[in-house]
Amino acid sequence: MILNKELKAVLLAVFGSNKMDSSIFLLGEVKSVPVLEIQNVTKQFKNGRGVENISFKVNQGEIFGLLGPNGAGKTTLMKCIVALSRPDKGTILINGHNVMEHFELAMKSVGTLISGVEAFDYLTAYENLQLAARLYPDLEKTRVDEVLRWVGMEAHKREKVKSFSTGMKQRLYLAAALLSKPSFVILDEPTNGLDIEGKLDFIQLISRLAKEEGVTFILSTHLIDEVERLCDRIAILSKGKIIGEITRTELTENQTFESYYIDCIRMGKEVNDVAELKK
């Protein structure tokens, strides 16, 4: 069915842009648009690392896991999604908005935690979150305290970040990711540096937000237990390429995400070995 531009304009005027973020109105039906759509994204570095021809979609309400060994290209892809890195080719759409062309619009309802990004260590936890909060004009003043409470950092809010352990910093970054009441959250290696209690708290928080508030997550990790507990669907990234994709319902009785991951990695290795031999 062809999109009626005039009707869309009228609906936009009536419902406002926020209501249009995750669905495009078609004549006679409402069709859900993927929250994240990655189309043929390639990003290559001079050292040969990067990602090649990546395509996948993340639908509303899903917890999507991007799984892969260290150096598979997970962080590169995550950085491309939030425009910290520019893809060599391909398109990334968040809620239908091209990230490279309409960055502000695309990131309006997105929360991010990217591995390697640091908070300002000469400021307190509270001040760091306030810096971020100022960039979301509609946010309530109490929101900073609320997210600090969620991640168990309320008692440390007046302490400078330079005195924090890696785990405390990671909790703060998670709070920063959830600050804007996002409908879509991008988490890159979110449990790095967290202790067992921290990891359990994290899993509970993500599950609650997904179930109760319908928040969509993309989670990049190399830790299978997080994926096993949280994700509805996973994609396996190895040496910059997607080598497998499966939903929880598609798993057979004896299969887990872990066994699927191991099969994919082994198969990918075997394919590479054959290719090497052929050379």
Partner: protein
């Protein structure tokens, strides 16, 4: 301009910024009694209340303020990149143009405040310690300090553009200082070449005060504005292409 407040908070929460602001305020206050003591001791009058703020400005604009400017700019761009802080705000719904713009604006405000602090303290010192402090001298001083903001900002945007290539604040600061020294040396050794550089306009306020509103000063103003626009654009272009 929601990020301007962020940049200002980041700048003023640093201990170095506060220390430098205090030094900026103290220097003219100490220089006044020292000059008076020396003048009394040797029995001559080199500076009076009217010329003292301009002497302080001449020193500040040639050495002190460009150094502070280089310090702030190195930290704001190369420093934040080095510490991996820049992406903390870049992943929010703010365009790189607005972020870059707010950093430049914050630098401009900081520079203006530094100039005002030196202006006020040198005027106070001139009024208290030195003879011949007049209303004419006060107005002259205030005008000179305000006019000096323009050539300093032109140097500032050049530094902003150049530090985009450097990934460490200490290297960026060293490079900026060396570059500024080269510009100053060129001003004395090759005045015709130096005319193309903004450091040539360190005494811009003197030219305005000597000859007032004329075609030459106006032309030089347009040149500084063009310089600012060119390096702002080039600096933003490089900043926009950066990957983190």
């Amino acid at each position: 301009m929601q990020n301007l407040k962020n940049e200002w908070i980041k700048l003023t929460r640093k201990r170095s910024t506060i220390v430098l602001l205090i030094i900026t305020a103290i220097f003219p206050l100490l220089a006044g009694p020292l000059v008076q003591m020396l003048q009394n001791r040797f029995g001559f009058t080199a500076f009076d209340g009217e010329s003292f703020p301009l002497v302080i400005l001449s020193l500040a604009i040639t050495f002190y303020l460009p150094l502070l400017l280089a310090f702030v700019i190195s930290d704001m761009f190369a420093g934040e990149q080095e510490q991996k802080n820049l992406p903390f705000l870049l992943v929010r719904p703010i365009s790189r143009y607005h972020l870059f713009n707010s950093k430049i604006l914050c630098t401009g405000i900081y520079l203006f405040i530094l100039l005002i602090i030196i202006c006020i303290t040198s005027l106070i010192t001139g009024a208290i310690w030195l003879e011949n402090f007049t209303f004419h001298g006060l107005m002259l001083g205030v005008t000179a300090y305000i006019l000096s903001w323009f050539p300093l900002m032109a140097i500032g945007v050049l530094l902003v553009f150049l530090v985009q290539w450097i990934g460490s604040s200490s290297k960026a600061l060293t490079f900026s200082i060396l570059l500024y020294l080269v510009m100053i040396v060129l001003t004395y050794l090759f005045p015709t070449v130096a005319q193309w550089l903004p450091a040539y306009d360190n005494d811009w306020y003197q030219r305005w005060m000597n000859s007032g509103f004329n075609v030459v000063n106006l032309g030089r103003g347009v040149y500084l504005l063009s310089w600012f626009a060119m390096f702002f654009t080039l600096g933003f272009n490089k900043f926009n292409q950066k990957e983190f």
